[in-house]
């Protein structure tokens, strides 16, 4: 098997993936808006919202795969970055409600009125401006990840220890956001949004637009991840994943690499959260629950750790299964299925769906591989020659 084949096959997958995402991003909203309701090809609004949610999860999965699949950092607290991004967006949406809240208070969100806050807490200022909120969506998760990573990686906290303290981080945030004194609406979180950039969040058009945006977000973050992993930095990341101290002895500052990719992935998670909130219409502390983060990791495992397409695919597959199993006669048993899925995948498909698929097609095309290998020469740098 040659890297050339490898990247080729990956690239075909990648392009195919991008094409499909793009197509969905266009076709689904169009069919939802243009086709008459009830016609067979018309995608009802609730499915648009639903798939919009999946797409956001896919972005989250990508961000996790970037650090886990390529750098071996298993974060069990990535839900925290997702949620923080979501809260930043949620705060913007809350400020947009203005006088339409039940108490008609122009400044204070409803929960502040009935917990009689005298005035808006300082950290809520600025969120009435979209650009500011958008900035925070990237900044807050990024900053937290940077500080956390700077501490953890510099003091060489690795493997299980890192996973556990990331879990501690998200758990601490969970408790903090539960507190009503914290000023983020406590357990109820932020909800009952009215409009975003002047468009009604519940209007079909807005939903369609949000869905398109999410797809765009997925495409962009996918391209970013591709760019990172297929650069030399990507090779270094894999080197760190496979033999950390070896790469140290070659003079690579492992901690800076980890810090870079960890922060990048946190920002991506934040974006995912920001796209997620207006579509599901609520953000609350349960998003910080360690369980959620673990589940997200499992999407990646199911789809195929170390394959970007796999990560995204896994997110969609698992969540679709969840949607499917949690209604109708199967409802009482869906946890069995979900649990079983996790066990079986780790046991039988350690490479995940896509990973296994790649392995299969590679082995099947071993011969052609060898042939082209002979033809190959020089440093193989996929996608580098432009």
């Amino acid at each position: 098997m040659t890297p050339h084949m490898l990247t080729r096959s990956l690239d075909r997958g990648a392009t195919m993936f991008l094409a499909i995402v793009a197509a969905c991003g266009i076709l689904i909203p169009l069919s939802n808006l243009l086709l008459p309701a009830g016609s067979f090809f018309q995608v009802p609004t609730y499915l648009v919202a639903l798939w919009g949610k999946y797409v956001c999860y896919a972005i989250l999965a990508l961000s996790i795969d970037l650090i886990w699949g390529y750098c071996g950092i298993l974060s069990l607290g990535h839900g925290a970055f997702f949620a923080l991004g979501g809260y930043a967006m949620g705060m913007y949406l809350m400020r947009q409600i203005g006088t339409r809240g039940v108490y008609g208070n122009p400044i204070l969100p409803d929960f502040m009125v009935f917990l009689n806050y005298p005035k808006l807490p300082w950290y809520w200022h600025g969120f009435d401006m979209f650009w500011f909120a958008a900035l925070m969506v990237l900044l807050v998760p990024g900053l937290l990840a940077f500080c956390f990573g700077w501490l953890a990686f510099r003091s060489r906290v690795t493997g299980v220890y890192l996973s556990i303290i990331t879990q501690a981080m998200t758990y601490a945030l969970l408790l903090a956001f539960f507190r009503n004194d914290f000023g983020f609406g406590g357990n109820n979180g932020l909800t009952d949004f009215k409009d975003i950039l002047g468009f009604n969040v519940q209007a079909e058009g807005t939903r369609a637009a949000l869905f398109m945006l999410s797809c765009l977000g997925l495409i962009v973050s996918f391209l970013i991840c591709r760019a990172v992993v297929s650069s030399k930095l990507g090779k270094v990341l894999i080197a760190i994943r496979d033999a950390e101290s070896r790469s140290r002895f070659f003079g690579y500052r492992v901690e800076s690499y980890k810090l870079f990719v960890f922060t990048l992935s946190a920002c991506m998670a934040g974006v995912a959260g920001a796209l997620y909130v207006p579509q599901v219409g609520i953000i609350n502390p349960s998003e910080f629950a360690p369980g959620n983060s673990i589940e997200a990791v499992i999407w990646v495992a199911v789809g195929g750790r170390g394959t970007l397409v796999g990560a995204a695919l896994g997110a969609v597959v698992v969540n679709y299964a969840k949607t499917f199993f949690t209604s109708g006669v199967l409802a009482p048993y869906w946890l069995f299925m979900l649990g079983a899925l996790f066990i079986l995948v780790t046991l039988l498909l350690p490479k995940g769906i896509v990973g296994t698929f790649n392995a299969w097609r590679e082995s099947s095309s071993e011969k052609r591989a060898a042939a082209s290998a002979a033809a190959e020469g020089g440093i193989t740098e996929p996608n580098m020659a432009e």
Partner: protein
Amino acid sequence: MNVMDTRATSAMLYLDGVHVSFDGFRAINNLSLALEPGEMRAIIGPNGAGKTTMMDIITGKTKPDVGVVLFDGVTDLTRLDETRIAELGIGRKFQKPTVFESQTVQDNLLLALNVDHSVRGTLFWRGSKAESERIDKVLETIRLTEARNRLAGSLSHGQKQWLEIGMLLAQDPKLLLVDEPVAGMTDVETHLTAELLKEINKTHTVMVVEHDMTFVRELGVKVTCLHEGTVLAEGSIDQVSSNERVIEVYLGR
């Protein structure tokens, strides 16, 4: 900051009175030795003599409790971490061959090249003619040109040893620390490895840790025998192997 004002010694590597102990157990005990620039030194000694720990100290993986470790006569290595030391030009080959198994042979070498190792540098890296030539040359030297596109993990044990040495060449350090390069090699491979090391020694200072006496003999260089973390004997292979204590603790009768 960690560069001394005057050059304390002419030696490329200079250890003096080094002590290390892991919860009570004294791994290194008042160890002193010096490597002159361009020299190749073979280190022998029974298991637990502290050979690998010594390398850990030189490469900054382990910090000594007390003692001086000078590189190039000026730099105090005990204050630096692995990365910095590697950047200074000390390369290390592990006891158990450690290569990046899931990447191709040439990518392994690519990663080893001593070019810009910063995050930005690697992120915006572009391949260059010079680099690919260096890699081709190393591939020649370690006889892996054919296997350049194979995954390092799929190489044979001996090939991995060579690949790792090749990576050191690509890294092009001033000082090479080579830990048991011929462990598990066939006689032919062993012979070739010896040749390879001699070749390397023409341009680099080398420290080899090895059990295989025939190999050490073949290298034909100054030998240091460690025992219980301290130098037992030093000199030509013949002197050392005829030393009473050495025979007693290591070679056996």
